[in-house]
Symmetry: C2
Subunit: 447 residues, 2 copies
Amino acid sequence: MAAVVAATRWWQLLLVLSAAGMGASGAHAGNAYTPQEIVGGIPDSEQLLPELLKKAGYVSKIVGKWHLGHRPQFHPLKHGFDEWFGSPNCHFGPYDNKARPNIPVYRDWEMVGRYYEEFPINLKTGEANLTQIYLQEALDFIKRQARHHPFFLYWAVDATHAPVYASKPFLGTSQRGRYGDAVREIDDSIGKILELLQDLHVADNTFVFFTSDNGAALISAPEQGGSNGPFLCGKQTTFEGGMREPALAWWPGHVTAGQVSHQLGSIMDLFTTSLALAGLTPPSDRAIDGLNLLPTLLQGRLMDRPIFYYRGDTLMASTLGQHKAHFWTWTNSWENFRQGIDFCPGQNVSGVTTHNLEDHTKLPLIFHLGRDPGERFPLSFASAEYQEALSRITSVVQQHQEALVPAQPQLNVCNWAVMNWAPPGCEKLGKCLTPPESIPKKCLWSH
Amino acid sequence: MAAVVAATRWWQLLLVLSAAGMGASGAHAGNAYTPQEIVGGIPDSEQLLPELLKKAGYVSKIVGKWHLGHRPQFHPLKHGFDEWFGSPNCHFGPYDNKARPNIPVYRDWEMVGRYYEEFPINLKTGEANLTQIYLQEALDFIKRQARHHPFFLYWAVDATHAPVYASKPFLGTSQRGRYGDAVREIDDSIGKILELLQDLHVADNTFVFFTSDNGAALISAPEQGGSNGPFLCGKQTTFEGGMREPALAWWPGHVTAGQVSHQLGSIMDLFTTSLALAGLTPPSDRAIDGLNLLPTLLQGRLMDRPIFYYRGDTLMASTLGQHKAHFWTWTNSWENFRQGIDFCPGQNVSGVTTHNLEDHTKLPLIFHLGRDPGERFPLSFASAEYQEALSRITSVVQQHQEALVPAQPQLNVCNWAVMNWAPPGCEKLGKCLTPPESIPKKCLWSH
């Protein structure tokens, strides 16, 4: 059994062993984020998918963005991966390498260059060859492994993350602007990966899953952000537009082509599902939130399950069946909003898309996502449907909260001295920079 | 060649010979509407599709709502149809038959009952057998005609129009509430129509087209209205949510199954396309706005064409290529809006979803519908893209306006005496009502 897992950005998979694996930053209902000045990262106590897959003889590679900490102890090759080509942080920049270094690109243990330097991204035209490089890394890995070992490829491309980029043959080819060009290049690349699996005659033995880790970032719309269709708001919020994405599974001879499932999944499920595919079981010493999706994928079974929507360590909302209850509502602060940062452009649902953090824990706002996928029409508090939904959701939320184990916060301490000044390998390239004085401080992330 | 045309509500097809065929009501940018007190209707000077199809030996039937005038001279059998089962107006009600009569249901020339009387609709449960009755009428007509004559069936069902209804076997079967139940029943019925065409071995000889005449009516959402997905606002507006619908064409052996076309069509095109299928040409004595879509349907060709968005006789907006220019913006009045009538629930695009009728004719708002299908991000007036789009759109709007011929207004005079008090056939049923005194007045329709 080999597994290729492709995602536009997919780090939750690596976090799934405990809902509290990475403690949030201090701000109430503030989003989790790992800038390059972050001191923390993925703790050793977490057992990541590639670590566990090793037991079944898998060779694992991550291509693309890691984003689980960039200091040496958080390096993906210290957490189960055998190979890495990609970056520890977002491709933001360019920076001046004085106040802030450009983000390094690694091959395995060492950096091989930096974004905007050896790996250029033209912010004006949107041109960058990164998706093509990531594609070659994927094809090369598959060719080397497919006939000898079971393999796990985590292909975490980020061309659709602002600043959005595409290579020259794709730029200007879509009606959807630069974002559409980037999607077309990713689509074309996935096609080449699937073609190779078929050419190597391992397609019927390889499970491929494609999804995104969040809804479209509407702050970057329309030129550098996607669309969330009928859903409310975008990335950074706990409305459906921030959290709900489609997914595609491909496994010729096993997953029936062209079928549509309404099973509600979570990226956490890929941990459990991948282990099941490899004939392994999840660790038994901790609560595991992911479901094994194989009954859905192979037999079309539908499983009811709750989903918990967090912002930092605040449980903002929860779904069960078709009902979603909001315990807290918040898009972003008035201060941010007045500066033009809008997570819900063109959308405004009174009492729902609030710019103050509103406490509904006593009387949650409840929507029926079947009738009202856009979260525009809260159920009447007086209705029997509301009362029944509330009672069912309250019960699963209690169960969930009782099972939570507090974790060591990883995202609350920042320090400019820990940024990517001198990653391993910098000396060979003559690209080591001198860090500033070490001053730990509370991380600031206003969302 | 036979033609089945199925639509949820589709009267524009019958209007297409002249863009000014039915003059609008007096209010500037007010929507056109034909309540049962309307004095006007479809003029004899208009040549309707079934009238023209007669020349090629077609027998034509309308099943469902007509809505082009209910007085004797406007009867569908006076305008080319050979059979009718359905109603002249919406299935609103129940009325008291004193201030306002219930809407009659006709079989051919005579009424056979009224809504909420012989044809019950349970407003509380949503139960009505109307779609089943309309289905049987369609199947019966096809069986009688298919082997003897070419036929044209205009199947204008309205279960998805508020008050939304479904028959008992479909009620409560969808996750989408009553609206979803109605859609499922229509879908099931279309399936039975297609099945019959195959059983009769006329499928490869029958062109079937399915679409809607407007976007979802969000004033009735979520329980009794659809969703416009990513599009802005709903029915009654000239934003994409009010005007843009998908369509399905079915013609085994001719239209390739499963293909998707991005051709921009208009219901007016079905007039021209249907004539072409029947080997006929449109009248040459007037301007015809519809395109022949056969090159798109049969060979996948894409044709660029402008679309003009009217509200009454006000040209509100126009698209050309991917660009849409708004010359006027208006959702509804503050007065209506404050009463809770909202055509854009949960949506609010500053300067775009206005409650005053805003004049942008000097400097239109322009959107790129490829990058921004939700009309949320107007192009900058200073951009080269804006200037170029404006110049191209201005030119086609001028051409369009020069070709317009003013028509006799049909929708501006109302009179309670002309309502459906005593339709033909009422005496046989003992269902004739006495009309009030004839007092012509200006029609009121606040949208």
